[in-house]
Symmetry: C2
Amino acid sequence: MAKANAFYAQSGGVTAVINATAAGVIETARQHKDRIGKVYAGRNGIIGALREELIDTSKESARAIAGLRHTPSGAFGSCRYKLKSLKENAREYERLIDVFRAHNIRYFFYNGGGDSQDTAHKVSQLGEQMDYPITCIGIPKTVDNDLPLTDCSPGFGSVAKYVAISTREAALDVASMCESSTKVFILEVMGRHAGWIAAASALASDGPEGPPHLILFPEVPFDTDAVMARVEQTVQKAGYCVIVVSEGARYADGRFLAEAGTKDAFGHSQLGGVAPTLAGMIKDRLGYKYHWAVADYLQRAARHIASATDVKQAYAVGQAAVRFALAGRNAVMPIIERRSDKPYRWRIGEAPLAKVANVEKELPRSYISRDGFGITPKARRYLAPLIVGEDYPPYKGGMPQYVSLRKQLVPKKLPAFEI
Amino acid sequence: MAKANAFYAQSGGVTAVINATAAGVIETARQHKDRIGKVYAGRNGIIGALREELIDTSKESARAIAGLRHTPSGAFGSCRYKLKSLKENAREYERLIDVFRAHNIRYFFYNGGGDSQDTAHKVSQLGEQMDYPITCIGIPKTVDNDLPLTDCSPGFGSVAKYVAISTREAALDVASMCESSTKVFILEVMGRHAGWIAAASALASDGPEGPPHLILFPEVPFDTDAVMARVEQTVQKAGYCVIVVSEGARYADGRFLAEAGTKDAFGHSQLGGVAPTLAGMIKDRLGYKYHWAVADYLQRAARHIASATDVKQAYAVGQAAVRFALAGRNAVMPIIERRSDKPYRWRIGEAPLAKVANVEKELPRSYISRDGFGITPKARRYLAPLIVGEDYPPYKGGMPQYVSLRKQLVPKKLPAFEI
C-alpha cells in the first residue's frame, strides 16, 4: 500500500492505561513514516471521525506522546456511541468512509471493548463493499476484562491492582477499629456483567480466608439469607467483615441490587449504589456498625498505582496494531497470549474481529469458590501476575505530572454532519 | 526518674501514618533503655489499658517496628472510646492508674485527636491527685486536621494527597467521557465538621478554575439553587463538572444533606451518602448523566500514596513525644510549627494539653473563596506543602508489604475489669 494516513480513536469507558496504547500506536507509526503519513486521532472517539474533528497528532511533541504512557483516561476524548448495524444506519458508516477518503486515511485503529470491535469489523466490511481499501485493526481495552480470546484486557490489570490494594488497606483500617466501632466494611467495584474486578479483590490476602471475607459476583445470584449468615459468622470469628460487591450483583430473578434508573448510550442500565443498599440490609438484619465506599471512576483512573504489567501490555497492543497493519493484516485484533503462570510469560497474538465482536467473557464458574463468596486457586493463578510491578508517574510538588495535549484539529474538507 | 515502662495507645479513627508515629515512639524509646524499660501498647487503644491487655512491643523485631513506618491503620488496634469526666467516671481513671502501677508504667503516650488529648490531660491530673507520678504526652493524629495549635495534624497530609490525586484522575476521566456520556462527577470525602479534606481537593488543579469546579464545605450552608446554577454554568462552559463534597455538607438550618432521605429505585431509603443525594438532585433538576464515588476508609488508609512530608511529621511527633518525656515535660503535646511556606520549613514545637483538649480548628473563612465553592490563594499556600513527596511502601508480587505484628500480651496481674 502506498503511504497513507491513519486514524486512531478511543472508545467507551476509559482506563488508567488506554493512553499507553495510544503512545504505542503513535510512536510505532512515527517509526514508519515511509508507510504511514500522519496519525489522526478522533476528538471524542468515533464521534470525531463522524464530525470530521481530527486531532493531528503530528503536532504533539515526542515528549508529550511519551507522557501518554503515564497519563490516565482518554487524552483525545472517548465516547459512548455505538454505530447501529449497517442496514439501520448505512449513513454513518458511509460518512466514516467519506471522511477517511477526504483525509487519505487507510488505516483505522479502534481502541475499545466488544462494541468497538464490532464497529471496527463493520467498517472493514463496508470498506470492501464501497471499494475503499481500509485496514481495520481493533485494539483491546476494557477494565471489565470481558473481551474474548485475549487472555486479559489492557486496563484490567491496573483496576485489579487498585482494588486489591484498596481492599487490603481498608481491611487494615476496619481491623483496627472493630473492637469498639465499625464491624463491616463494604467496597463496591465496577463490573456490570462480569465479576473479574470483584474477583481481583481477593489478591488483598494471600489465601482464601481473606479479607475480603465475602465477594459478591454478578455471576452468583444474591441470596440475602446466605449473605447475612456469612457476614454474621465472619464478624463472630474474625471480629470484622470486609465485603467486596460488584455493581452488577443481582438477585436470582435478575433484578440488580441497586439501579440508578438511567441508561447509557448503549442501552445498559447505569448502576451504582449497591454498597449503601447492602449496608442498609446489614444494619436492619444484623445491627452492625458499617462503613461503605464506592470507588467508581477512581478505580479505573488510578494511574498513580497502575500495574506495570498492564502498562507494558497496553503499550504492546498499540505497537502490535501498527505492525499488524503494516504487515497487511486486516479485521484483526492483537491479543495477549499467556505462555505460563509462574513465571508469568506472555506474548502478542492475533484474533479475527469477527470472533471478538459482541462476545462477552464471563468469569468462569471454575474461578468462583464452591460457596460462591470467593475465588479458587485457579483464579488466583490467573489474576496474580496481572497486578505485578509498579509504574509510577513522575511527580512535582506532590502531584503526578499527567500530560495534556495540544489537540490541534486538521482543517475540515467536508460539509457538516449531524449525528 | 528511675527506669520505668511506657504505655502507648492509638485512639480514634486511624490514618495512613499513625503507625509511623508508633515507630517514632518505639524506636526512640529503644534508644533510651537506661530510662525507659519496655513500651507496652494498648490492645485496641485505651480499652487495652482498662482491660490490662498490654502488647509487649519488645517482642517485635526491629525490622517489624521499622515496617510500621510504611504500614497504614492502627497496628495495635484503636478504639472509639471516650472516657467521661473524672467526676462521672473516676472508676475508669483509677483503673488506668492501677494498671500503670501494676506494670510500673510511668510514661503515657496517647496518640489521637482532640478527645484523646483531653483524656491524656485528665490522666495527668489524676496522677497528681492519686500521688502516682505519670508523665503524660499527647501525640497529634487526625485526618480531619482539626487539632488546634499544631500547624497541621499528622494523617491529614496523606489524605489530602489521596484526595487531590483522586480528584485529578477522576476529572481526566470525566473530561474524556463528557461529550457523549457522564457530565457530572461527585466525590464525597471525609470531614464531618471541618472542610479541610474537601479543601485539599483543590490541589488537583494549579489554579482556581479547577477541576474540582465546586467544593462543598460543611462551613458553607448548602444552597440548592446556587449549587445547581453553578453546576449548569460549569457544564455549559467546561463541558463537564467535578464536585467534591464534604460528608458534613449541610443546609443553613443545620440538617446534613446525607440525612435528606432519598430513595433508590426499589424505594429503599438511601442510607448516608451525600454524593448519591447530590447526584439525585442534579439528575432531577438538570438531567445530566452523573457518576459518584465515596472514598470513605480508602482515603485515610491509602498508605500506597502517602505524603512523604506527612510520614516524616508523623514519625517526628512520635520521636519528640519520647524526648519530651525524657526531658521531664508533662501534659504537653508535640506540634508542627511552620517556619515558612515556600520553601516549606517546619519544626517541632510544644503545646500544653490543657489548651488542646476539646478545641476544634475549623477551616478559616479566609481559606474559602468568596463564592463559597473554592479555596483562596492563602489556603493553597497552606495546603500545597503538606502533600509534597512520595513515600512508597515496598512491594512484592504487586502488593504493598505491610507488616503485621506478633502482638504478644503481657501476663495480667490484676482482676478483670468490666468496661
